[in-house]
């Protein structure tokens, strides 16, 4: 064991920080730091800047247009990005479908889709969940029937993030109902402009729009859009879900939120002094920070542990569970720090993804925007991507052997 950070990694970090500072557009950074949902245009502009630098896909191998940074360096880069308020990239494309395509896709698929992802020419959404297949994903029912060199897709997806903005969807569809559930699923790439495909917005409890229902009514998808082999989609999905588990703690995001919280607490007044100086509130911030420091080291452990090490399973199992809780706690504390104005609904005036576009803007300070929205929306962090209850089941079974 040796816990010193390599000087070369320190230098890398400084280089990244300087690059981001020099190149992240100021208006984009401002929206990011204020907690607004980034606009489509923000994401695109920044992705193209990164891609021009060769850093468009830090988790991809160099041969597909990525970089070959160590996991630690990818983590450090993410920390710097979030600290600067950079918009979250198109994760569906870069973290999910991209790796599936370059690992299991055909050469034609690679040529067609990867450059468009790297340059943010096309945005993606993930079509996995269905109304009766939440945590129990394998019970999905949307079916695709082969008809010549096309699949005909019927059914429904739900909780589809960014479907209202996406150009493409990667979906799990049932291509065989005769076998056990996991064995009859295929992985299809679907153009969102296909006839018969409709998107219905689902407003979430932050009064915002980010998830949708997607309905398929005899949607025809070219057979060449099948990734890998028919009926092997479950294994590609599992590959994708276990990918990048260190990132699931979302430490860089929470770290950034914590800094925003401290800035708020330094100016909001309670009992005549900044709430940062209120002993009970200061202790709550400190407890959160302490928990985050522990989680950050857990991430570093995962990043430095070889895949075949027996201890990896235990430490990585905690990341999503605790990470989701901390994301909730930091935004709840931000709401509390803001006092009653923390309870005021700010329409997302810059992102314009809010339900009620005419709602008046509260007369609260500028920095109050966004936190309530995050606090509400993040009730979902302990639900999506494997609810905490499922995470505990997994720990009990696979780590503890209960």
């Amino acid at each position: 064991m040796d816990f010193k950070l390599d000087p070369a990694d320190e230098a890398f970090r400084a280089e990244m920080r300087a690059f981001i500072r020099a190149n992240l557009p100021e208006d984009v950074a401002r929206r990011g730091r204020r907690g607004y949902h980034p606009t489509h245009d923000d994401v695109q502009r920044w992705q193209r800047i990164l891609n021009a630098q060769g850093w468009g896909a830090i988790n991809w191998p160099a041969e597909h247009g990525g970089v070959d940074w160590s996991p630690l360096r990818r983590f450090l880069f993410q920390m710097e990005l979030k600290a600067a308020g950079a918009p979250v990239e198109d994760q569906s494309a870069l973290e999910l479908v991209g790796p599936v395509i370059y690992t299991f896709g055909s050469q034609a698929q690679k040529d067609r889709y990867l450059p468009a992802i790297l340059n943010a020419d096309e945005f993606w959404c993930q079509g996995f969940s269905e109304p009766n297949a939440g945590s129990d994903l394998a019970s999905l029912r949307t079916r695709a029937v082969r008809d010549g060199d096309e699949f005909v897709v019927d059914g429904q997806k739900i909780w589809t993030s960014e479907a209202h903005k996406a150009d493409m969807m990667f979906a799990l569809v049932r291509t065989n109902s005769e076998v056990k559930p996991q064995a009859g699923i295929s992985f299809l790439l679907i153009d969102m402009k296909s006839p018969g495909l409709t998107v219905r917005p689902i407003y979430t409890i932050n009064e915002g729009l980010s998830v949708n229902e997607v309905f398929f009514d005899s949607v025809r998808v070219p057979a060449e859009n099948l990734v890998g082999e028919e009926n092997r989609g479950w294994s590609y999905a599992k590959f994708l879900l276990t990918n990048e588990r260190a990132m699931s703690a979302e430490v860089p995001h929470t770290h950034h939120d914590l800094e925003l919280l401290k800035d708020i607490a330094a100016v909001e007044i309670l009992n005549g002094r900044p709430i940062a100086e209120d002993p009970l509130f200061a202790a709550k911030i400190a407890k959160l920070e302490v928990d985050l420091l522990a989680l950050e080291y857990a991430v570093l452990r995962v990043l430095h542990t070889p895949e075949d090490d027996a201890s990896l399973n235990a430490v990585s199992s905690v990341l999503k569970l605790r990470g989701a809780e901390l994301r909730q706690r930091v935004s709840e504390l931000s709401v509390e720090a803001l006092g009653e104005y923390g309870l005021a609904v700010f329409p997302d005036v810059e992102g314009q993804d809010n339900m009620d576009k005419l709602a008046p803007v509260p007369p609260a300070p500028d920095y109050a925007a966004g936190h309530l929205s995050k606090a509400m929306f993040r009730r979902a962090t302990t639900i999506y991507g494997g609810a905490n209850e499922i995470q505990r089941n997994i720990i009990a079974k696979t780590v503890l052997g209960l």
Binding site: I158, Y203, T204, I205, L280, G339, Y341, V345, R379, A387
Partner: protein, 406 residues
Amino acid sequence: MDFSLSPEQQALKDSAARFVEREYGFEARNALLRGDRFSAQHWATFAELGWLGAGLSEEEGGFGGGPIETAIVAEELGRALALEPFAPCAVMGVRALLAQASEAQREALIEPIISGESICVLAHGERAGRGEDAHVAVKAAKSNDGYKLSGRKCFVLGGPHADAFVVSARTSGQTTDRRGVSLFLVAADAQGVDIVPYHGVDGRMVCDLVLDQAALSADALIGEEGGALDAVELALDHGLASLCAEAVGAMDAALWMTRDYLQTRSQFGVTLNTFQALQHRMADMLVETELARSMLYRALAALETDDPLKRRMDVAAAKAQIGEAGHFVGAWAVQLHGAIGTTEEHPVGHLYKRLAFVRNFMGASDVHLARFAAWSAEAKAQDAHGQAARAGRKADDRRRTSPVSD
């Protein structure tokens, strides 16, 4: 002591429950949310059914009730997530007037409120006053024929629906002095009064009230000049208790809604209610709900004592306890519903939002906990002082040498 509803109380509860079941379903409420977030017709019904005066004794101009009756109505309105300004008007506005106004003013002002003609809400909170009820920076300067008010009241619940405000303003003293706080009746459409509306997380309308040399006649002063803070604190305590009652209603609704959901929703081939981990979580939710209800009753008892310290203590305790219990129950109700719980499309998310509102409105839980700690220490010191005075010096000396061997 009696914890069962009297026939009159049961009738009140039934009438409220019937109303919300018939008029305040999920879709009906959503329609209100898309419009004014308020129904004048509902408000008229509230008046008609006697709810706006249900919490007042006959001497106070009401129908023979008290805090318990207020809580019965508030609980049902909380269960239904009603949007109308019951607490800010029929509880806080009225209590402030009752405690401070002259008899003539009471006669003139109370009746129109309980009959639903006038919506008059308390406007007391200010931004820099967080945590201190005595903080009043809005200034009331004497003018030739009355007063001129300047300053800003923040996050006035129900303000956009009000035709008048009971505004606390300083007629003398420093910003946090107990003396020097006066109450004024301010019409919503008066000159120099600007209402800045917006909405809160639970869908209810709020506003900032911006006063810029708002000219009031001398008779806008309610009761005695400079001595209104006790009345304000009393009104706030009644408001807090009413808020707690709302929360208990919302918790109860969230609890049983979640129970029903677990009994019907399937996953992995069985209904969710068969999973022991979820059963235990629901048991914890029930525990919190029952203890919140118990605490609400304690707060209601406290509202009827004559000792303001004891009253403030128990109300602060209730706000601290119920604020956190409500968040616990609401957040877990959402979690156990899964993704649908995090949308606008299912009532459980709205229940959560009401509970999140209660948790931080009028002081977050820790603010009330810290107050309770301070007031509890004060009460203990008073008790000890009283006991020592009775027992004479000897006991007092013993206490000093060993804290537990008295």
